[in-house]
Subunit: 239 residues, 2 copies
Amino acid sequence: MPETSIEKQQKTALGPTTGPEATREALIAAALDLFGANGFDATSTREIARRAGANIASIAYHFGGKEGLRQACAQSVRSQIDAIMASAFARSSPAIALPVRPDIAANMLEAIMGHVVRAVLISPDAARFVPFVLREINGHSPVLDTLYRDVMEPTHRRLCALWGAAIGAEPESEAVRLAVFAMVGQIIYFRIGSQIVTRRMGWSDYAASEADQIADTVCANLRASLQMYKTTDTGKERP
Amino acid sequence: MPETSIEKQQKTALGPTTGPEATREALIAAALDLFGANGFDATSTREIARRAGANIASIAYHFGGKEGLRQACAQSVRSQIDAIMASAFARSSPAIALPVRPDIAANMLEAIMGHVVRAVLISPDAARFVPFVLREINGHSPVLDTLYRDVMEPTHRRLCALWGAAIGAEPESEAVRLAVFAMVGQIIYFRIGSQIVTRRMGWSDYAASEADQIADTVCANLRASLQMYKTTDTGKERP
DNA sequence: GTCTATAAACAGATAGAC
DNA sequence: GTCTATCTGTTTATAGAC
């Protein structure tokens, strides 16, 4: 499909077309996939270009080099995670900014977690960028600082606010922060350990019904934990 | 320290000395570290040899090549995980093979999880081999089959047996298998996400007191989940 | 913007001295 | 067993044609 002129494309990472911007997006998608699967150093620019259907030199042209492509991947991941979390928070509640009632906060938490589980387990995008983020976290990568500050820390803080409201505890207390990590840790594990989980469960991969079962498990644990914290503590330690 | 003759060393991975076997162990330790941190393909044999204080050619001599070193690393990991789990199961109960009483099974589970959390978070060995295993799982590595069959599947099955006994449910039911994955997933996440957790908690790294706090969190979630399953799944009422 | 050709550095494996 | 030296292939980056 030859085109004489292509309008400047938006960089919302959701509109690839058939122009010079399309190769840029294709390169990022291929790089996210390969960086996540094999790691940054282990991935050759030739392989990225081949999978993206582009030329090797196009990487240097569009991103300045392999390292620039890594930065572009990190930015893409940030917008993808932001989109998932924005959608999850938006659907969890009509229009309330500061929920005070514990049962409302608990219901919001459960709705958010159920949404995130399904998005993280089913979406092909998440299957790509979660391994990428994992690699960047493990080796102390130059994009880790930005990723933590702009994505993980704000998201975790918002979840802590809900958790604290749900059980009537200080949102930034150590117990709440750790409990939220334990909750999201379950989701992350089901994503990165999918090879193990699917083998043990006899599944071929994660589809809708499998994600529903996992969401049920995670949400059940969430309810159990909230209920226990609510009954046992007033902001104190274990007996 | 020049030695004229060295006795043949045992391969129990726990007895490095100053002979030809010492370089073998040093190479495995260095490779585990680097494979886990940067990935198999991204790690050069030169870097491994340099960190191990050995020569590049020694890798080919001892393991036949880079791939042989990977296999040796997998075998080392298997024995390390076996040691942790054996210790955890041994300390959880005096000598009972088949616990039938639910409260005994629940207590065993809690003891095992507490032990595993501390071992996985504090032990420098675990900090090495967990990233290695993660890499091997993510990319479909040739050692994944063995690792799953010999380590993960049997361990998960034993935990399912305890979980089923604790709540009075079929150990191999889908709900129990997923619940066990959610439980161990928390532990794995705290290990692989340590860079995120420590930043958010304001910790420099995982020491004894930090591992204790995380163990408390995980064990509290375990108790909450077991209690909930016990009250909802079966007709039995807790005292 | 996209391509080919090439340069400079680095990879794993191996032969052979000791 | 351990070492040096070297072979062969691949890597990223870049120069320049179109």
